[in-house]
């Protein structure tokens, strides 16, 4: 029985890896057989070679983009949580601030980005602002939902124990909101990479987004793909970090889920 379970566990890993390898192999074959020019679609082997030969270039630019993402995301986290807390705690704030929060997302970043450059100057700051602007929204909205998802019976229970409004907020609403907050964080992390690239598109001298814009007119498509690959790895890595943080901060949540799913057997 244990052997079967272990084999099943291995299979859940093996299958997606096999599918990925299959896709890459199919891509390689297609480029070779159809003789696709390297400036149109480079073969995976060409991209891999480029990753090796331009590794230091990619690394240097990746660090810059990573910096923009991390600082921007932290700013988004603080702003998003503070906003969410305010909106959930005060009706007045909710009615005045929430519509602005939503409107902030309808303004196309492509239009704002050049203006930001003129207002704030060049360098990392405008990119950080763009990352923060794009990422704070899912964090704020999901956290607000979480803060409002409190069980009214629990609120009554706390009130009978003599809790004040603030105590209800800190001891009940905030912990209830944690799973929601992490949903927002995971979404925010996923779009942070794209946000940084957009920020770099419109005026940068460093970063992977800049490298892509610079390499395209030179028809170095393999390098473009290599940069995209590094960006994907970055995005996945950040997501995994968020999941780890989630597991660490909400141990009861996952143990409960695991316990419930095991009971089904």
């Amino acid at each position: 029985m244990i052997f079967l379970k272990k084999a099943a566990g291995l299979l859940t890993w093996l299958l997606p890896v096999a599918i990925l390898v299959g896709l890459v192999a199919a891509w390689e074959l297609w480029v070779q057989l159809a003789d696709v020019p390297k400036w149109q679609l480079p073969a995976p082997s060409a991209v891999a070679k480029e990753l090796g030969s331009s590794s230091s270039l990619l690394w240097d630019h990746a660090l810059v983009t990573l910096q923009e993402i991390v600082v921007g995301f932290l700013a988004a986290l603080i702003a998003g949580l503070v906003l969410a807390g305010g909106i959930a705690y005060s009706r007045v704030l909710e009615r005045s601030v929430y519509p602005i929060v939503i409107a902030s997302q309808t303004v196309p970043i492509i239009a704002i980005a050049p203006l930001l450059l003129i207002w704030v100057g060049y360098g990392l700051t405008p990119k950080i602002i763009i990352v923060a602007l794009i990422c704070f929204y899912p964090i704020a909205v999901n956290t607000v939902d979480g803060l409002k998802a409190t069980d009214p019976d629990m609120v009554n229970m706390l009130r009978t124990l003599g809790a004040s409004r603030w105590q209800v907020f800190t001891k009940l609403q905030i912990p209830t909101a944690l799973p929601f907050m992490f949903s927002g964080i995971k979404i925010g992390v996923s779009v942070s990479v794209i946000a940084a690239v957009i920020g770099e598109w419109v005026g940068a001298s460093e970063g992977l987004g800049y490298l892509i814009t610079y390499s395209q007119p030179l028809f170095l498509t393999a390098r473009v793909f290599a940069a995209i690959f590094v960006l994907s790895v970055m995005g996945i890595g950040l997501f995994v970090l968020a999941v780890i943080a989630e597991r660490m901060m909400m141990p009861w949540h996952f143990n409960e889920k695991r316990a419930n799913s095991m009971r089904q057997f």
Partner: protein, 244 residues
């Protein structure tokens, strides 16, 4: 919903309220606890008029344990809200974990406990607040029949040792008779006390009394008006096209 309920409970008594659903039993407890305000009439606790939040202990049907706190930390929740330092509160609670059947589970999370244990943890949380009056809203309703019997016997013992005044809501006639000194039967729409029954069974009580002839006689006196109420609700419901 409620119209004219006269409830008098002496210190140290155990009183049950029984009645069909929708007759306002929970509302009554809410008023006593201070969660709701009555349109007319007043509440007097230990000679003080008006019911403020936090004056009575209140235990609801759902255990309402915070899933992100350990069992021990859940029980000290009320003390924490009052400002008692955690360490001190934990020590206080630890003295009772054995009596409440939670020994060894103090540092587990609620999901790992059985239904009965969770109810006892919720009980301990209420008890630690030290109020003289404790309100229980169908505390054993969600438990299976066997656990319920266990819990009823445990509650009897606890009440006898702690000397609290308890008001219990239940739909279980046996439970009401077994535990209480007095049973109030509430009618539905409007909620009124239609019968007040003194339970003259000797204390300390145990579960074997349930089959005694005295018990059956008391039960019969309760069942009659109870059944007629249920019938009238049924017919009223059918004519109005509602379900309860």
């Amino acid at each position: 919903m409620l119209s004219g309920v006269d409830l008098t409970v002496k210190e140290g008594e155990f009183v049950s309220i029984i009645g069909p659903s929708g007759c306002g039993k929970s509302t009554l407890l809410n008023i006593i606890a201070g969660l709701d305000q009555p349109d007319s009439g007043l509440v007097e606790l230990s000679g003080n008029a008006g019911a403020k939040l936090g004056q009575t202990g209140y235990m609801q049907q759902k255990d309402l344990l915070l899933p992100w706190r350990s069992v021990l930390d859940n029980t000290i929740l009320g003390l924490e809200l009052r400002g008692v330092p955690r360490k001190q509160a934990r020590e206080q609670a630890m003295e009772f974990t054995e009596a409440f059947g939670l020994k060894g589970f103090e540092h587990q999370y609620p999901y790992a406990l059985s239904g009965g244990m969770r109810q006892r943890a919720s009980f301990l949380r209420t008890m630690l607040m030290g109020q003289d009056v404790v309100l229980l809203d169908e505390p054993f309703g969600a438990l299976d029949a066997l656990t319920r019997v266990q819990m009823q016997e445990w509650l009897l013992q606890l009440w006898e040792s702690l000397n609290k005044t308890i008001v219990l809501i239940t739909h279980d006639v046996d439970e009401a008779l077994l535990l209480s000194d007095r049973v109030y039967l509430l009618s539905a729409r409007p909620g009124r006390a239609t019968l007040v029954l003194d339970v003259e069974l000797p204390r300390p009580r145990n579960y074997y009394m349930v089959t005694s002839p005295e018990f059956s006689a008391l039960k019969a006196r309760l069942m009659e008006p109870l059944r007629s109420q249920i019938q009238s609700i049924k017919s009223a419901g059918q004519s109005a096209g509602q379900t309860d």
